[in-house]
Point group: C2
Chain length 229, copies 2
DNA sequence: GTTTCCGTTATGTATAGACATAAAAGGAAC
DNA sequence: GTTCCTTTTATGTCTATACATAACGGAAAC
């Protein structure tokens, strides 16, 4: 057997790193490379496509393939369940619903979800605990028209985050992390001082047809968001 | 005939979302699906592989393909140049080197890089400005054995971040975002108050053979890390 | 000179067929 | 029952071929 696509990928990466193929420069076309390396064009294609997805190459039909000028690397961040996130740290996860009701939709939340003021929404505030100590507190608004069953979700047994992940798969959404001072309410729930620097995640998710949920998640001090690249 | 892998992917995704294929459940094998949909197995393979990479499916040889029980979605975060990050906000980027020298390597940095105390390193502290206002301040340690040319980098013209991205392509690394109170030094450079909640990024990158750089980047208050999912 | 059109070219993708490989399942030896 | 081995099976991958598609570049029409 000849080379596998991973071998081709490794060889291409070697040439990129050794500057044999310099940044911005066009590399040989797939057919030539296949001939040179002694494999099928499909194999070269698989390798180069993977490198393009990883940000090392830029490919355009007819224009050929060139080395990315400033290799813009992408990091992947897995968005796990909060429960898993706690368990991955070797701690025991639990949660407590603080309150659950249907207040009028405040304009900022309304805007984020793109809903009319009359849309049926439920608000749930939840405290997540790791080994019994506060880990994060969540203020979540759920669009009931998109997930009618949420009204009956047994949130004492399964946390809102996990219930929604399991029962309302979504299309797309946005995450926004920022550092902020803990509000008085955050501080009360997280047992920290008002104004302490905490990580706040704001997430809005949309289903195929309608917005699903908007959530503000305030992590207790000391939270780290780790990415691999 | 006309069925492309994207069509197959869309159909599979429809079945996952409609719960025709329920979470945790095993789906038909590639050969059967290909026969059912009227395309080649390779086409089905391409579609299902893409869905697995996106986190919708879990595949194992011989064991078949099943719908991910709790679709663990991954978000991609592009790690742009700081300069680009500023320019993408429609502002003008500039930078100023605060100091550049070769102090002894402090143990925490040494541990992060995995280097002996005698390793040749250069420390550069840089302030990044957006429209002339402080955007972030950087404390960077560069392993000169891995990037000897760094000693001659004209950091008045090109910022350290960009110089390294362009001249020292790396293999892998870790990013760590956390919310922290601004130190007195952060506060002085960023024109904010000591103790203000700021986002701190700690990044360590490694080349094929040796560690390259360790950097602590403190963003001015108000910084947001946005991800699309 | 400008616009339109068309051929060339590199990548994108589909296909059938083949073999490789991991892992589960079942059977044989003990 | 436990261990080891063999079969079976679904995914992983390579190959050769073919056609699709985007885009560059030049020729033709005006």
């Amino acid at each position: 057997m000849a080379l596998g696509w991973q071998d081709v990928q490794a060889e291409a990466l070697r040439r990129i790193r050794s500057r044999e193929w310099a940044p911005g420069e066009q590399i040989p076309n797939e057919a030539d490379l296949a001939r040179e390396l002694g494999c099928a064009r499909a194999t070269v294609n698989r390798a180069l496509r993977a490198l393009a997805e990883a940000g090392w190459l830029e490919r355009r039909r007819r224009a050929g393939t060139r080395v990315a000028p400033a290799p813009l690397r992408r990091a992947q961040v897995a968005i796990p369940l909060i429960r898993k996130e706690i368990e991955n740290r070797g701690q025991t996860a639990s949660h407590a619903v603080i309150d659950r009701n249907r207040p009028p939709l405040p304009p900022p939340i309304r805007a984020a979800l793109g809903l009319p003021a009359t849309a049926p929404v439920e608000r749930v505030r939840t405290l997540y605990l790791a080994d019994g100590r506060p880990f994060a507190c969540e203020d979540r608004w759920v669009h009931l028209a998109a997930v009618p069953d949420f009204a009956d979700a047994p949130l004492d047994r399964i946390d809102p985050n996990e219930w929604l992940v399991r029962n309302a798969p979504f299309d797309h959404g946005t995450l926004d992390y920022c550092a902020a001072p803990a509000t008085a309410e955050d501080a009360r729930h997280l047992s920290c001082e008002t104004g302490a620097a905490i990580m706040v995640l704001t997430r809005t998710t949309f289903g195929p047809a309608a917005p699903v949920t908007h959530v503000r998640l305030a992590y207790a001090p000391g939270y780290h968001l780790r990415l691999e690249i």
